[in-house]
Amino acid sequence: MSGRGGGRGGARGGRGGARKGPPGLPWEIDPSVQVPDRPQETYPKTHNPPPASKHPLTASESRSVRYFVKVRRDFHNSPLYTHKYLAPDSTASAHLSDPVSRSYGQEQINAKYGVKSKAAVDPFTAVPTYSHQFVEESRTLPDVTARPLPYIKEFFPPELWGTIDGHDGPKTKAAATARKGVKRKSIAVEEDPLADSDDEIFAMMRKPETEAQRRRRIEEAAEGGGDNEDVEGDVDVDEEEHEVTEDDDYEDDEDGGDYNAEQYFDNGVDGGDDDDGDGGGEVEF
């Protein structure tokens, strides 16, 4: 209030300064106003809800919770359940108290999930020990065929019929042989009776279908269409399989399987606890 603005204002180029304007205007300085110039509290007063211990669950509520847990446990023991399987580095890096790190875009979200394949096996824990028989194998793909009750096919879209019939297995050697008609040394097929029988059925069942499909494909090709692979989504899954899956880089089916590193251990040990998912010697997550 002391200096009538001139000097200070001039230094900054004329205008402004603490010049007192004509009375009655909003920017008139009111000495009675106390400007709160102290910094704001770091933790402003907020409403704290009463702690849960003040209102323990009633009998009925805790019974509801028990029922929920029971439903959950039962489903988790059913073959349709898929275990949580995150990418190893994402679990390691994420801080314990912050499991939901931000992710931007679908790609980052997808990167959080792990791909279960032979390549991702932890060599330090993967050697089977006695206690492994008690540990439930973590499943990333529901075991659709193991469900005790039959599916009601009419409620599923035709594109999924192959899957619920169990025809949607990984590309196995027997199937590949049946398709291509290539005669090959079938080491794996002979030594893995479970996978073998499955694949035989698979091959037999798909045989007439491939005929019909082949004819249709030819017709479609004649018309000039046939760009949609999904139409025959019933069984014919293998082509698109390879375009999209990033981990599915075992293309060794074609080269005769002379040296199959994945087979090396599998056939030596036993196929006892292998489910049909990796029966063919190739694990697709």
């Binding site: 679908q106 999930y113 599916y151 949607d168």
Partner: protein, 654 residues
Amino acid sequence: MIVTKNAAELCVLLIGELYGQLPSRLFAVLLAKGRSTIKHLAQNTSMGPRMVRHGLVVLTQQNLIYHYTDPDTSITHFEANSEAAYNIVRHGKILNIIHRNYGEDSARLVHQVLNLGHVKISDLAKQYKTARQEPGTANGAANGISSDTADNDSDYEGEALDMVAQLIAVGILEPVNARTFQSPEDVRAGIEKDIMESYPSGVRGAKQKADFFQKSAEAWKEYQDESRELKRQLEGHYLFGPGAKRRKLANGSKTNGFKATNTHMLDEEKREVAVRVNYDKCLVELRNHRLTRYVADEIGEVTAQVYEAALSALAKNVNICQASEKSNEDTFVTRSVTTMEIFENLRPGLDVSSGIGKAPPTKINAKSAERIQANQPGHDAEGEGEDMSEDDDDDDDDDDIEMSNGVQSNGVHETETKITSGHNGSRETKVKFEENVPVAPTKADRLQQMRQHLLLLAESNRRFIRHCGMRDQGEWTVDFDSLMRTLKYSEIDTLIEQTFGKPGLRLTRILRAKGKLDDKTLPALALMKKADVHVKMVEMELAGFLEVQEVPRDNNRTASRTLFLWFFEEEKLLTRVTDNTYKSMVRHLQRLEVERRRKKNVLAVVERKDVQGMEEEKLRGDVYNEYREFLDIESKLLGQVDRLDDLVSVFQNY
């Protein structure tokens, strides 16, 4: 259900919690991207199509997605069903309420259905049998049934079939057909397409248009009736038939009348029908429970039990909580029940004489206590007053002690005052009533005392029940619409009071009563200082509880020449509060995940096959204690999620 970001996150977490990682990933993409084909899903999740297909099988089996196959290209489109996903959170409560209302075995059966998604009745019966025969679950307390019969095998299956029939009749289970898996929009579009075929040159002119709409409405109705067909057949036997009453009274505790020769109700053909849980009906049951809790808080435990009986008598006719386009109009009309029907639903062990104060007869204005409101408070109730004054029973307080007298006079009334739409069950109960009176005189006392409770409920300012007629000792109904609105307000009020204190609550209530109010009138009405009011209002506005509207008084739009109108927008607030609730549910589930990580080592041991089920014997002491700690935390978190869901239900679903 409006799928906000939080709601979507919640659905995904719930599916992950119950059904595993693969379905939850797919569901997240389906919610984010909308209708997708397998190819799109594979692209968006960067999974192989084989994996996508397997995940979709699980989702379809659990009724969590809709799918629609285009007949021309035969490409299938999948769509997320967020309602179904949200309902996962209610699984525990649904089972609990079924246990309460229909017995433990019914809950066990519904548990199977929930786990299996949808299932054929015959398969379900088999599954139930195997589940019961497992040594772990078949407890020795299989009451009555297994003890008096030699072979359990046929028994469990027959028992299961009977229970399924009963549950279909009450509506807890519903039959599934292929169209249930299409989204309602697709079904409607399909119907319209079919009808369009009869108009080869398109719909032209007003007449044709009206015709078209009528036809499509009819077809829509037909489609809905299709699924109720089985229920209708069965409910004749179970709900309104001769055996219905005893079964109702048995109510949980199974009597030997339960396994009567009812299995023929589901013949071979019907056993091939697939069923799933009907969440709409379950919500009705949950709403009844919730209302009972409110009454228990407000009036008392005994009255709440009476109210529960009244609600469950009413619930026979209520299949859905809110009338929507999904439901027909006629299914939603709330009907009235008579005192006798309520009495039949009353738990036998309940002591109705307690829980209510006694006042000398002279102190009670019987006329106003017995007042009949034939219409909802909103409607004008003309002409009912005469009926009321005609009633000779009103004069003494302990009216209707002479039962026969009451019945006769009521019988007269019944013919001349067609007050409410009675339904077919009422006449039959009247007959039953007359034969009951001479046999059990104590029953009459009990009935009378129960009636006092009902009158008490009717008198409450929340209008829990409405006394709407005189027939058969009085008819009662519940105006769910207005009742739920009051309850919504009371929940919001609690919330505001907790967050902003008493003054905030007072201001919002004034606004709710008066509508939009200007800056100057509000402090006067609230009898508060202007400065206080402003601070509070701004605080609430920032939190989104209030809205403000500016109305300039002239073209200058200066602040001093502008009116600021405060108002309270209910709809907006409700969606906002619901969304916040979803958010906190999400936080709870995430917290559960953190706790799981903390106790990772303990849980890994507990999940071992040789430990599961007998943790106490197998685990080392300190590990077991840690496991107990985790269970405690888990139940706290899940219990809190359940409570939050109660709030969501009140705001959105009931």
